[in-house]
Symmetry: C2
Subunit: 297 residues, 2 copies
């Protein structure tokens, strides 16, 4: 199987799960559920979901057992985008090629749709014992990891520092690293670690998956920053040059384009090294590390 087919298959699976998990738009209040579905369904690479399933598979688990986790991760990712796009944050009009949530539903519904998605993510994680036969103990452990990684000392904290950095014109490499490891890195890490925990990873396997996750996350972010400078709006599905307009800290801004590309390649090498002791079932993770720096969106 080719990676592109693997990713397509997993993406299709998670779209079905998300459609089932998200409250139908007929349920009151309709506008809220429509808005939650608008920003979660029908778009996105589903990287976090695919990584969770691939990590589960890499340690010998059944990736279908990670469907609830994968849906929760995608809802958390979607909520973070809805809130990041708000006028008081990045003030973006376009996301995944469509108008942003607040442009369609208004600012107050967008804030509440984000709140609803975040809450629904934990509701879905708490359904894992009943729906996917996950033990209560592992369920609680996963809820802990997901909450920590997406909270004030994880993703939300990274977003705050990102906003504080805007327009400052600062060139602080430490702050850039804090932003990246928290804003995007933490949820990638939780996706991979929780997938591995579901697959009953040994503690050595879990450490290796964590090393992979940290290098993968960094490669992703560097490439994201490069694409914001060099990419095409049409393939990205969002405006380019946004980081520069907002005066954001980025890898190209601090290290230059060439050095940034080298750093991303070094991350991919570290991803491969982390997976050296893994069986062939880790092939999607191996190939995704290459994919992530060669994508155009």
């Amino acid at each position: 199987m080719k990676l592109i087919d693997y990713m397509q298959e997993k993406k299709a699976e998670i779209e079905v799960v998300l459609d089932q998990v998200l409250p139908k738009s007929g349920i009151r209040p309709s506008i809220l559920h429509e808005s939650m579905r608008y920003s979660t369904l029908g778009g996105g690479k589903r990287l976090r979901a695919i990584l969770a399933m691939a990590a589960c598979e890499a340690v010998g688990g059944d990736p279908k057992q990670a469907h609830g986790l994968a849906a929760a991760l995608e809802m958390i990712h979607a909520y973070s985008l809805v809130h990041d796009d708000l006028p008081c944050m990045d003030d973006d009009d376009l996301r995944r090629g469509k108008p942003t949530n607040h442009k369609v539903y208004g600012e107050s519904v967008a804030v509440l749709a984000g709140d609803g998605l975040l809450t629904e993510a934990f509701a879905e994680l708490a359904r894992m014992p009943e729906k996917f036969n996950v033990s209560h103990e592992i369920t609680v452990r996963i809820i802990s990891e997901v909450a920590f990684s997406s909270g004030s000392q994880g993703m939300v904290g990274g977003q705050v520092e990102d906003i504080l950095s805007m327009g400052e014109g600062s060139n602080d490499a430490d702050q850039l690293e804090f932003i990246h490891t928290h804003k995007t890195g933490a949820l990638f890490r939780a996706s991979l670690r929780c997938g591995a925990i579901l697959g009953q990873a040994s503690s050595n396997e879990l450490n290796k998956i964590t090393e992979y996750a940290d290098s993968f996350g960094l490669a992703f972010q560097i490439t994201d920053d490069i694409l914001d400078e060099t990419g095409e709006a049409a393939s990205l599905g969002k405006a380019v040059g946004v980081d520069e307009r907002l005066g954001k800290l980025t890898y190209p801004r601090i290290y230059g384009l060439e050095k940034s590309k080298e750093m991303a390649s070094a991350c991919v090498a570290r991803c491969h090294q982390a997976l050296r002791g893994f069986s062939d079932s880790a092939w999607p993770l191996r190939e995704m590390a290459e994919f992530i720096i060669h994508r155009d969106h």
Copy 2:
């Protein structure tokens, strides 16, 4: 013991727990953790926390075992107030006698502080096995209840309908009931039910606690609406007449003041009836039903 002393004691306990649970303001990003602490500590009646502990006690449990649950409920309540006060929602400047979160920290930090508090609430619930010796199974059940009651089919859904009702001048009693049972009722219900579940309530006891919760929540909301019309800003710690200014649906607006007061009294009677088979350890719940309609804030 008098109710006022009981409530004071439990309030003091929960303040200590919240202070321990919330990340210290020295932790990066400082402004975020300051903002989360600002809106959670040092104010509020702590009704949800006290109800959870009192329900645990009423069915024979140890109320201290509900400390984690109580802290989580107060964080969820605090997050909902921070988001409700935002310019795109109720646009309030004053809360618990202090400037609202976005007035102090700005709108973007206020949105993210709310997100952080909501996430931290689930992190704290997931710590119940380790900190309070709660079984993993009960922990997952409580996370489910709390997530459902505070999500898009609970509190968040109620807030959406509340906003939709503003300025409409509608007199729709069904919509008013939907708003109340979702926006405030659902979290009261979860507080009482989850406290009882922690205290190992029988299924009959849990049903009775649920009946109590629904009448208590309604009495609370009717009284809140009455106070917004007749109360003093100084004792309420927030502006009065806000509902009318925003054209909100309220009980006095639909039923008039006298009939609203009668409805609240009928709720209190139903609260007492629900607790008829309970032992003397339910005395705080019994007295809180009276307290809730006779308060001035």
